[in-house]
């Protein structure tokens, strides 16, 4: 057993590094004013790209019927009627991709009315891809060293 697992140890160590290593903030935080228009069944702009630490001020509008704006991971949930605007303010302190979704039943495709806030550096994705490469390499090293073990 020990001998079988031994070749994987460097991979496991590297996996921990990839999964947990802290990454410093690169970009200087700024304040961003963004107008987001909700309409059946999409947001414009569909994707918001910001940097960690940025202060985000969203002006939310509805183009046709009442829509909502629920932001995963940030606990924000606002609603807006056509003709109104709603101001949403927060600091993008969590990195990764967070979907914003409509939270007011607005028609058939309402559950799929989704936009994306990407807070760079997108470490979750980068780490996942790193782990994926490691997983593939590790699997092949393991199969090479234990060609028969995999057959049981």
């Amino acid at each position: 057993m020990k001998r079988r697992v031994a070749p994987l140890i460097p991979f496991l160590v590297l996996a921990l590094v990839i999964a947990l290593a802290p990454v410093p903030v690169m970009a200087e935080p700024t304040t961003r004013h963004i107008t987001v228009t909700a309409s059946q069944f999409a947001y414009n702009p569909p994707v918001l790209r910001v940097n960690r630490g940025d202060r985000i001020i969203i002006t939310l509008q509805a183009a046709d019927v009442m829509h909502g704006f629920y932001l995963d991971g940030y606990g924000i949930n606002e609603q807006v009627e056509p003709g109104q605007t709603r101001r949403i303010e927060f600091v993008a302190d969590r990195t990764g991709k967070f979907r914003y979704r409509c939270s007011v039943s607005c028609g058939p495709l309402h559950p799929f009315m989704i936009g994306e806030l990407v807070v760079e550096p997108n470490l979750t994705f980068a780490r996942a891809v790193g782990l994926m490469g490691l997983a593939v390499a590790g699997t092949f090293v393991y199969l090479r060293k234990n060609p028969a073990a995999a057959l049981k």
């Binding site: 309409s39 069944f41 999409a42 947001y43 414009n44 569909p46 994707v47 790209r49 629920y70 995963d72 991971g73 990764g96 991709k97 979907r99 979704r101 939270s103 039943s105 058939p108 495709l109 309402h110 559950p111 799929f112 989704i114 936009g115 994306e116 990407v118 997108n122 979750t124 994705f125 996942a128 891809v129 782990l131 994926m132 997983a135 593939v136 590790g138 699997t139 092949f140 199969l143 090479r144 060609p147 028969a148 995999a150 057959l151």
Partner: protein, 459 residues
């Protein structure tokens, strides 16, 4: 067999499963919900998120099916599925009792050319092209359910047994294929006993029960695809030779017998659809949703044609090249590319299943809370049966989903690579050749995983 744990060794399990009323009782319960879903679909509110039909079929049932039943319990859904029940009862002229005599049908023979899952492949694709509409319109969902049950009854009038389930049901095809991975199986305890048993009651039926409605001879059963777990053979077998076992995940993926092109395509279609749905339904691109939603007919036509082309040409084409490369690297000169293609496609079964589970996590957790409000107000008419009607929409564990998806996808990738290595090793001359042969398929699997990760985690 290795690593099996027989559940039917317990008296009470066996007695329960041998009780003729076991399946019919479950069927009556699911049939009730099925009819109820049709009624809410037809007569309830057109707002999908407030209609029992949409929430219970496409969120609750779907989640149970793909996250719980298929990976762990094989075709358990088919044990309790109400769709073929009325037809089956009609041809038996009985619900629980074993009526003596033949089944009442027109006694036609199902065409030989259709004894595979191609019809199911095309049926699934046909539904998939309309899925954005089906998934979001209660009435359309209800029509689909009605059409399924009518088709099942119609086929039961013409043909004996569960022709609908084996060859037609668009869901049945992938339930069967993905059941290759399940941790549950029904098998004979000793194949020799079956060989020596001349009357083969499990096939012909006897006074205790009907012959296998799934047209399976348990004595030759080596993989889960066609076993509907109806437990008929447990009742009819006079030799006490049938067992239901727990087993390791993925056990049937290495069974060579039964591998076929129709199943290989099913594996590819399911994988392509998991990717496409993740992009279309969960992506930020409103225009794709509009096209899928038939905002205009030409838009939808373009969408549908591309959808089909990706499913039947693009992905299979790339995979064909992958298989050709595997054939070269693994030194399989005397095996045709087609054979290699079919073989290695079975590594897409665990990958696809995991992809579907990951996809389902992103909307089941988010929208699961609708189930509570819909339970109290199934038609959207303002009822409040259990006092939960006003339960607000609350995404459940939104922070955990991404992590779960990463873990699942990476585990699925590693597992699928090991499986493809073992599949190739069945033909390759040496370990080293099999190892090299696994490289191209691993590349394909990695690209698929990367695409999933990108869709779920990157902007």
């Amino acid at each position: 067999m290795q690593n099996r744990f027989e559940l039917t060794q317990y008296r009470w399990v066996k007695t329960m499963l041998q009780w003729r009323g076991f399946q019919p009782t479950l069927l009556l319960i699911t049939l009730f919900f099925f009819v109820f879903a049709m009624l809410t679909g037809f007569f309830g509110t057109p707002a999908g998120s407030h209609n029992f039909a949409i929430i219970f079929v496409w969120i609750v049932w779907w989640a149970l099916l793909i996250i719980v039943m298929v990976p762990f319990f094989a075709r358990l859904w088919c044990t309790v599925c109400p769709i073929p029940a009325p037809g089956e009862w009609l041809q038996r002229r009985a619900v629980i009792r074993r009526k003596p005599g033949k089944l009442h049908t027109l006694r036609r023979r199902w065409p030989r050319k259709l004894r595979n899952i191609w019809l199911q492949n095309f049926g699934f694709l046909a539904m998939a092209m309309f899925s954005t509409i089906i998934l979001t319109r209660p009435a359309v969902s209800a029509w689909v359910l009605l059409a399924m049950i009518l088709a099942a009854v119609g086929l039961s009038v013409v043909y004996e047994n569960r022709i609908f389930c084996r060859y037609v049901c668009p869901v049945g095809g992938f339930i069967g294929l993905y059941s290759l991975t399940s941790t549950l199986e029904l098998r004979v305890k000793d194949a020799q006993v079956c060989k020596d048993h001349t009357t083969k009651d499990c096939v012909t039926g006897n006074e205790n029960g009907y012959g296998c409605p799934w047209l399976v001879f348990p004595g030759k059963l080596e993989r889960n695809t066609c076993c509907g777990l109806c437990t008929a053979c447990l009742t009819t077998c006079t030799q006490d030779n049938i067992g239901i076992n727990l087993r390791p995940f993925g056990a049937d993926l290495l069974v060579e017998k039964g591998r076929s092109l129709d199943e290989a395509f099913k594996a590819l279609i399911m994988l392509a659809c998991a990717l496409l749905y993740s992009a279309v339904l969960l992506g930020p691109w409103g225009w794709v949703k509009d096209w899928a939603n038939m905002d205009t007919l030409p838009h939808w036509a373009v969408y549908a044609v591309s959808f089909i082309a990706i499913n039947l040409l693009a992905l299979p084409g790339i995979f064909w090249l992958t298989a050709a490369a595997t054939r070269k690297l693994a030194g399989l000169k005397n095996v045709s590319v087609k054979k290699v293609f079919v073989d290695v496609a079975y590594s897409l079964v665990p990958m696809g299943l995991i992809g579907w589970i990951a996809f389902s996590f992103s909307f089941v957790f988010v929208n699961g809370s609708y189930a509570l409000s819909v339970l109290s107000d199934p038609f959207g008419w303002g009822w409040n049966l259990f006092g939960t009607r006003n339960f607000p929409w609350t995404p459940f564990l939104p922070d955990v989903v991404a992590g779960l998806q990463i873990l699942l996808l990476l585990a699925g990738l590693i597992y699928s690579i090991v499986i493809v290595y073992r599949i190739i090793r069945q033909r390759a001359a040496t370990d080293a050749l099999a190892w090299r042969g696994a490289l191209p398929v691993a590349g394909f699997l990695t690209a698929v995983t990367f695409t999933f990760l990108r869709l779920y985690l990157a902007g």
